[in-house]
Symmetry: C2
Subunit: 147 residues, 2 copies
Amino acid sequence: MDQIDGKIVRELARDGRISNTELADRIGLSPSACLRRVQELERSGVITGYRAVLNPAAMGRGFVAYVTVGLSDHSKRAQQAFEQAMAGAPQCRECHNITGTREYLLRIEVADLAAYKAFHTDVLGALDHVNALTSYIVMGSPKDERR
Amino acid sequence: MDQIDGKIVRELARDGRISNTELADRIGLSPSACLRRVQELERSGVITGYRAVLNPAAMGRGFVAYVTVGLSDHSKRAQQAFEQAMAGAPQCRECHNITGTREYLLRIEVADLAAYKAFHTDVLGALDHVNALTSYIVMGSPKDERR
DNA sequence: TTTTGCCGTCGATCTGATCCATGGCCGCAA
DNA sequence: TTGCGGCCATGGATCAGATCGACGGCAAAA
């Protein structure tokens, strides 16, 4: 990972479908040298894949909220049950195990407030041991997610 | 956006570099029909781009925390100053304007705890009007981010 | 029944990926 | 100084895939 690799990675993070020829041009390498580096970055796990970026609104995910969740039951069983429920809930896009008095921080993406309320009631409300919730509804992201 | 478009979008979200031929195979369309649909999804803004996915640890971003931030000064000027500071801070990967008593939720990605402390002190600590902070350090993501 | 919207197939063309061989440049160690 | 290893550039050959245009079929809507 030298400076050149850094430039390659930045370019590919910005546009993952750029051709190797074009990439080599921007980096200032020959296509063959550039390709060797990209392949090495993939092989070594620095680049783990390529994804299409989707428009949240078009996917019915325009409403974003973060939710902290505490469990009254701190057993491994209860945690696994909760994590499994989140893994099965399509509205939940991230489920982070965090420090502090709340055990989890969820990122919820749904179409609108009604869908968010439905998630809150039907999914979170249906779970046992969920004893504390704080919702942070996202009003907009000045720094749109750099990914 | 019918069912077929949904399948296309899911495949491309999983692997953004799949060839059109292969994509058409998986969807069950001819390459030409498939290409027509992909181009329409791009044109209409459902697919907004393609990105390489990077290994956080390899990029010095293995340590993740969420931070809620309140501003004592609620003026537009103060908000803009804060947002601009976050836009200029490479450690800050997301800056969400949220409801509630905290105005912002940040996602911070750094190499380790020391770097996090440095961010906290040198970046957040140097800003005016930042009067309340709560950190949620991510211990690992059971449901790794679905993107 | 006619129109409209998709779809599949075919062929032509162009770009790019990938592999290979060759040669230059530079720093390091014998 | 000399030889070696690591990298890079260039150019050729080959193959897969992207892209486009044209044509005909089929089914649902008008």
